[in-house]
């Protein structure tokens, strides 16, 4: 306990300056529990990540490393044209070129669409409750999904069962389909 400092920082609402100390105080820079075996750590992390990928592979019946569907999997995968899916799936992070493959010209340098405010206001109201912070950080990037007429509102979020696996977003052209599903996109 000896080092716990009771917060004397300015209260939340008063913090207006950005990070000041680019050079951290030496006293705070310390290694707490001794030598870290980096080789072993790298190996273990790699193992964990491989396990995660295998689990995702089994779950989705998809080989994410090679971008191919697995044979005999629970899910059937089919190719779809990337222009047919909501922009949400293939939208690049902002500030990048080729912002939207749907051929959208109303995008400024920040990746914001001119239609953003109008089209998404309803959506914003609804999700503010649980999402206020995530919305704040990622809002701009997500918004443009509304540009695609078929994905105007929450449907594109709530039906995104398929995107819970992060690596899936790389394989945007493929959409999984269960054997007896209701088509969601």
């Amino acid at each position: 306990m000896s080092d716990v400092r009771l917060s004397n920082g300015s209260p939340t609402l008063e913090r207006t300056d950005s990070r000041v100390s680019d050079h951290p105080k030496p006293s705070a820079c310390r290694s707490l529990f001794g030598f870290v075996d980096h080789e072993e750590l790298k190996r273990d992390l790699k193992g964990h990540l491989r396990e995660m990928e295998e689990a995702a592979s089994a779950k989705w019946g998809f080989d994410f490393a090679n971008h191919t569907p697995l044979a005999n999997a629970r899910l059937e995968w089919e190719l779809v044209d990337c222009r047919d899916v909501p922009g949400f799936y293939n939208k690049q992070p902002r500030r990048e070129k080729g912002v939207c493959s749907a051929g959208n010209n109303n995008v400024d340098l920040n990746g914001n669409h001119s239609c953003v405010v109008v089209a998404s206001s309803e959506d914003t109201d609804r999700s503010d409750g649980q999402m206020e912070c995530t919305e704040q950080c990622t809002g701009l990037r997500k918004r443009p999904a509304c540009h695609d007429p078929s994905a105007q509102n929450k449907r594109s979020h709530s039906s995104s069962d398929e995107v819970t696996c992060p690596s899936l977003s790389h394989s945007t052209e493929r959409t999984p389909r269960k054997t007896s599903p209701r088509r969601q996109t």
Partner: protein
């Protein structure tokens, strides 16, 4: 045009106004229901961990709080990071030499969740005295996310504090002081293993009651008296007044012991200053003497 505007504003933190529409009972009840989903397992030291003991959690928590304060993180980043850390340790046996990597990763994630200008991996690695590398931190991030099932929207005591304050009849300036004290207690609780299993609503209510007591706040209709406030807040969080009272007492004794240790520590290190904050000058002796 937009680019230029952004350039001009880059030095200040842009922050949305608080939405009063979110301070209603519907939201509060949803939070009370949701908080249970984010509770760590209370006995992970015994059941899951082989190397990590409570003392080590305290060490890493103390370091994390120090980093968050030095980097002027939003107040809720630290408790949120501790929630991630506890939830991870509840499901994954971890080597003690990797506890600091885990702590750094949890701050990295919490900062991304709550801040407009998040902490960078590089900076966090510097704070570990370069004992971990940014690449490791990023891989660890993926592992933590996976173990937490990508659910990072934990309810924290901070979320409740605003609700409680909105229900108390006190003037805005007092509210500000009270908020600050309550938040300090919350951070203190997050460093202490005894509060791992306490629901955030309980920690928040206990912190608010303890702060009101510590500041000797009074109101004309006695609604701020210890008993009335405890009864009132325990109803708000749908808990038992005795539970809340014991939580409050636990917080007070934690404060006392940490003050004692901080004092001993400050005797040896002259670099720590005596708190000169205005808000503390009107508080009773025990709080006023806080060594920061």
């Amino acid at each position: 045009m937009e680019d230029q505007l952004l350039c001009c504003e880059v030095d200040s933190i842009r922050r949305a106004y608080q939405d009063v529409n979110l301070l209603n009972d519907r939201v509060l009840h949803t939070m009370l229901k949701a908080e249970e989903n984010y509770l760590p397992s209370p006995n992970y030291f015994k059941c899951v961990q082989k190397e990590i003991v409570p003392k080590m959690r305290k060490i890493v928590a103390t370091w994390m709080l120090e980093v968050c304060e030095e980097q002027k993180c939003e107040e809720e980043v630290f408790p949120l990071a501790m929630n991630y850390l506890d939830r991870f340790l509840s499901v994954e046996a971890t080597r003690k030499t990797r506890l600091q990597l885990l702590g750094a990763t949890c701050m990295f994630l919490a900062s991304k969740m709550k801040e407009t200008v998040p902490l960078t991996a590089e900076k966090l690695c510097i704070y570990t005295d370069n004992s971990v590398q940014p690449g490791e931190l990023l891989q660890m991030e993926l592992l933590v996310l996976n173990k937490l099932k990508w659910d990072l929207a934990s309810v924290t005591p901070h979320d409740f504090i605003e609700h409680f304050l909105s229900k108390l009849k006190i003037c805005p300036s007092t509210k500000q002081i009270l908020r600050k004290h309550a938040q300090t207690f919350v951070a203190l609780c997050a460093t202490d293993v005894n509060f791992i299993a306490s629901p955030p609503s309980m920690v928040a209510a206990g912190s608010v009651v303890a702060a009101v007591q510590g500041l000797y706040l009074k109101s004309q209709d006695a609604s701020l008296s210890s008993q009335n406030l405890t009864n009132f807040l325990s109803q708000v969080i749908r808990s038992d007044p005795d539970c809340l009272r014991s939580c409050q007492e636990q917080i007070e004794s934690l404060l006392e012991s940490s003050l004692r240790q901080a004092q001993q520590h400050s005797n040896t290190t002259e670099s720590k200053h005596v708190d000169e904050d205005v808000d503390l000058s009107c508080t009773p002796t025990d709080v006023r003497d806080i060594n920061i």
